[in-house]
C-alpha cells in the first residue's frame, strides 16, 4: 500500500510540475515572440489578440505569481483560453472533438504493439540460435530506424494510393454519422487500419528489443535451470518462469517508451489527416494557434502521466517484490 500511495503522490506532484512547465514555457522564450506574432496576425480581432497575449503572459499589469494563480484557477474551471484558429471557440471545445480519436487509435495500437512486441521478443530470445530470429530482429532494428511519418507515407503510397485497398486518410467516410450505427463503426475500423499499423509496427521494435534482451538475461538464471531439471514442460518454463520475469522490467520501462510512441502517433495522424490530437497539433503549429498548442501539450503530458501510473499499478500486481516494497 505504501508503494501505491507513493505512486499517487508522484502522480499528483508530476501533474503539478507539468502544469507549471506549461505555464512557464511561453514566458521563458527568448526575444519577444508574442509581439512578432501579433504583428503577423494583424487583422485579427482584438479579442483574439488578447488570447495570444494571455497565452504568452503579456498581461504586463499583473505580476507572475498572480498570473500563475489565475492560470491554475482557470484550468480548474476547464478554461483553457480561446482558440485562435477556431476563433471564437474555446480551446476545450476544439480539443474535445479530437481526444476520442487519438485515445482510441493510440490506445489500441500501443496495446497491440506491446502485445505483439512482447510475443515476438520472447520467441526471438527463446529461439535465439536460429537464423530466422536474427533476420527478424534485424528487420525490426531496420524499421525502427525510420521516421514514423515516413513509414506512414510508404504505407499510404503502396496500400492506399497505388493499390487502393485502404483509404488515404481521415477517420471515417465523409458524411457518415454515429447515427449510421454499424456502417459508421465499420468505417472507423477500416480507416483506422493503416494508421494503426504504422504505429504498431514502428513502435514494436522497441518492445521486441527490450523484451528479447531481458529474456536472454533471465534465461541464464539459475531458476530456469531448476525449472528444466524439475521436468516442467517447455511452455511452462517459457511463460511462467522466463517470460513473466522478462516482462517486468519492460513494463516499468513503459514510461520511457510511451514518450516515443506518443511522438510517433502524433506524426502518424499528420500523415493520415486523422482528426486526432496529433493532427490538431500540426494544424495549431501551422496556424500559430498558441492557446490550442499549449492545451494539447498539457493533455499529452497528462495522458503520459496517467499511463505511467497505470503501468506502475500493473507492476505492483505482477511483482510481489514491488508490492512488499522490497524493491525500489
Amino acid at each position: 500500500m505504501k508503494y501505491f500511495l507513493r505512486r499517487i503522490l508522484w502522480l499528483v506532484f508530476a501533474i503539478f510540475i507539468a502544469l507549471t512547465i506549461n505555464f512557464m514555457l511561453p514566458r521563458l522564450m527568448p526575444g519577444d515572440p508574442a509581439t512578432i506574432l501579433i504583428q503577423r496576425l494583424e487583422g485579427l480581432e482584438p479579442a483574439a489578440i488578447n488570447a495570444v497575449r494571455n497565452a504568452f503572459g503579456l498581461e504586463t499589469d499583473k505580476n507572475i505569481i498572480i498570473q500563475y494563480k489565475d492560470y491554475l484557477i482557470d484550468l480548474l474551471h476547464g478554461d483553457l483560453g480561446i482558440s485562435i484558429s477556431h476563433y471564437p471557440t474555446p480551446v476545450w471545445n476544439v480539443l474535445r472533438k479530437a481526444l476520442p480519436w487519438t485515445i482510441g487509435l493510440m490506445g489500441i495500437s500501443t496495446v497491440l504493439s506491446f502485445l505483439f512486441g512482447t510475443l515476438i521478443g520472447i520467441t526471438l530470445a527463446w529461439k535465439r540460435k536460429s537464423r530466422i530470429s536474427d533476420a527478424v530482429l534485424g528487420l525490426f532494428l531496420f524499421i525502427r530506424s525510420f521516421p514514423y511519418f515516413w513509414f506512414g507515407l510508404i504505407l499510404v503510397y503502396f496500400l492506399a494510393f497505388n493499390n487502393p485497398i485502404f483509404p488515404l486518410g481521415g477517420a471515417t467516410k465523409v458524411g457518415l454519422m454515429p447515427a449510421d450505427g454499424w456502417e459508421y463503426i465499420k468505417s472507423i475500423l477500416y480507416h483506422g487500419i493503416l494508421p494503426g499499423m504504422t504505429i504498431t509496427i514502428t513502435s514494436m521494435g522497441y518492445w521486441i528489443l527490450t523484451i528479447r534482451n531481458n529474456m536472454i538475461n533471465v534465461l541464464a538464471e539459475d531458476y530456469i535451470t531448476v525449472a528444466k531439471a524439475k521436468g516442467l514442460s517447455m511452455s511452462r518454463i517459457k511463460n511462467l518462469y522466463a517470460a513473466k520475469n522478462a516482462i517486468l522490467p519492460s513494463v516499468s520501462g513503459f514510461a520511457m517508451a510511451l514518450g516515443f510512441v506518443i511522438g510517433g502517433s502524433l506524426l502518424t495522424e499528420m500523415v493520415f489527416s486523422y482528426p486526432g490530437v496529433g493532427f490538431m497539433l500540426y494544424q495549431a503549429v501551422q496556424q500559430q494557434d498558441y492557446p490550442l498548442l499549449q492545451a494539447i501539450f498539457l493533455f499529452i503530458i497528462l495522458g503520459v502521466l496517467f499511463s505511467n501510473f497505470i503501468a506502475d499499478i500493473v507492476i505492483m500486481i505482477l511483482d510481489p517484490r514491488v508490492r512488499d516494497g522490497a524493491k525500489k
Binding site: 508530476a14 511561453p26 521516421p147 507515407l153 534482451n213 503549429v285 498558441y290
Partner: protein, 285 residues
C-alpha cells in the same frame, strides 16, 4: 581492456556493417560536390531550364522537384546537414548526459537529488511534443535552433543510464581503494570511473544521434525547420507539401526516408554490437 573492446567491436559482424554504412555516409557528405551532378539549388544548365517534376532519367537520376531541382543532387548534399545535425546533437547530448551522470552519480547528495529530480521530469515528458512546442515558440528558423531544441530535450535518457551505471561503478571496490589511497575526487572520476563506462557513453552517443537524425527530419517535415536549407527532412517537407504522392513521384519522398533509415540503422547496429560485447550474458563464450 579498451583495446580488447575495440577488437571485439571490429570483429563483430553487426558493428562492422554499421561502421561501413556510416563511413559511406561520411564519404558522401565530404565529397558531395564531386558526387552530385548539380548544385542543389540549380534549376537549369546550358541546355536550359530543367523540366519540373521530371521522372527519373539518365539526366536526373531521381527526377526533379516542383521547382526543377535535381533530387539526386539534393539527396547527396542533404547528407551534409542531416549528418552534421545528428552528430553535433549527439555529441552535445552525450556531453550533457555524461557531465550530469558523473556529477550526480559520483558526488551524490543534494546535487544528485536535484539532477535526478529534473531528470525524472524530463523522462516522463514525451520529447516530440515538447520539441514541437518549443520549436514553434522559437521564431528563428535554422540549423542551430534545431540542434538546441533537440539537445535540450534529448539528454534525459542518457543521463539516467549513465548516472545509474556510475552509481554501480562507484560502489566497486577499486573506487574505494582509490579513496583509501588518497586519490583526489576528480582523478577518481576520470581515471577510475570513466574508463569503465566508455561503452555506455558510446551507446548513449549512438542512441541520441539516431534520435537527433529522426527528430531533425520530423521538425523539418512539419515545417519547423529552415525550409530553404537542403536536408533530407526539408526534402520530405517539400515532397509532402507539393503532393508528391498524388503525382506518383515515389523518387521524391522515398529516397530521403531510406537514407535516414539507413543512417539510423548503422548507428543501431553499432549500438547493438556494443550491447552484445558489454553484456557478458550475451557475449559468454
Amino acid at each position: 581492456m579498451i583495446k580488447d573492446m575495440l577488437k571485439l567491436f571490429i570483429t563483430n559482424r553487426k558493428a562492422l556493417l554499421g561502421v561501413i554504412i556510416l563511413s559511406i555516409f561520411i564519404f558522401i557528405a565530404v565529397f558531395a560536390p564531386l558526387i552530385a551532378p548539380y548544385h542543389p539549388k540549380q534549376s537549369s544548365d546550358q541546355e536550359g531550364k530543367f523540366q519540373l517534376r521530371a521522372a527519373p532519367s539518365s539526366k536526373h537520376l531521381l527526377g526533379t522537384s516542383h521547382a526543377g531541382y535535381d533530387i539526386f543532387s539534393r539527396l547527396i548534399y542533404g547528407t551534409r546537414l542531416s549528418l552534421m545535425v545528428g552528430i553535433v546533437t549527439g555529441v552535445i547530448t552525450t556531453f550533457i548526459a555524461l557531465t550530469l551522470g558523473l556529477l550526480g552519480g559520483y558526488y551524490g547528495g543534494v546535487i544528485d537529488d536535484i539532477i535526478s529530480f529534473i531528470n525524472n521530469i524530463f523522462l516522463v515528458i514525451p520529447s516530440l511534443p515538447l520539441i514541437i512546442v518549443i520549436a514553434s515558440y522559437i521564431t528563428i528558423r535554422g540549423v542551430w535552433p534545431i540542434i538546441f531544441v533537440l539537445s535540450f530535450t534529448g539528454w534525459a535518457w542518457g543521463t539516467r543510464v549513465i548516472r545509474s551505471q556510475v552509481l554501480t561503478v562507484r560502489e566497486r571496490e577499486f573506487v574505494k581503494v582509490a579513496e583509501v589511497l588518497g586519490e583526489k575526487p576528480l582523478v577518481i572520476v576520470f581515471r577510475e570511473i570513466l574508463p569503465n563506462i566508455i561503452s555506455l557513453v558510446m551507446a548513449t552517443f549512438f542512441t541520441s544521434t539516431i534520435a537527433a537524425v529522426i527528430g531533425e527530419a520530423t521538425l523539418e517535415f512539419i515545417g519547423l525547420g529552415n525550409i530553404s536549407a537542403v536536408t533530407w527532412g526539408t526534402m520530405l517537407y517539400w515532397a509532402q507539401n507539393n503532393a508528391a504522392l498524388l503525382y506518383n513521384a515515389w523518387w521524391w519522398f522515398l529516397p530521403p526516408g531510406l537514407f535516414i533509415g539507413l543512417l539510423g540503422t548503422s548507428f543501431a547496429l553499432m549500438n547493438f554490437a556494443i550491447d552484445e560485447i558489454s553484456n557478458p550474458k550475451i557475449r559468454k563464450r
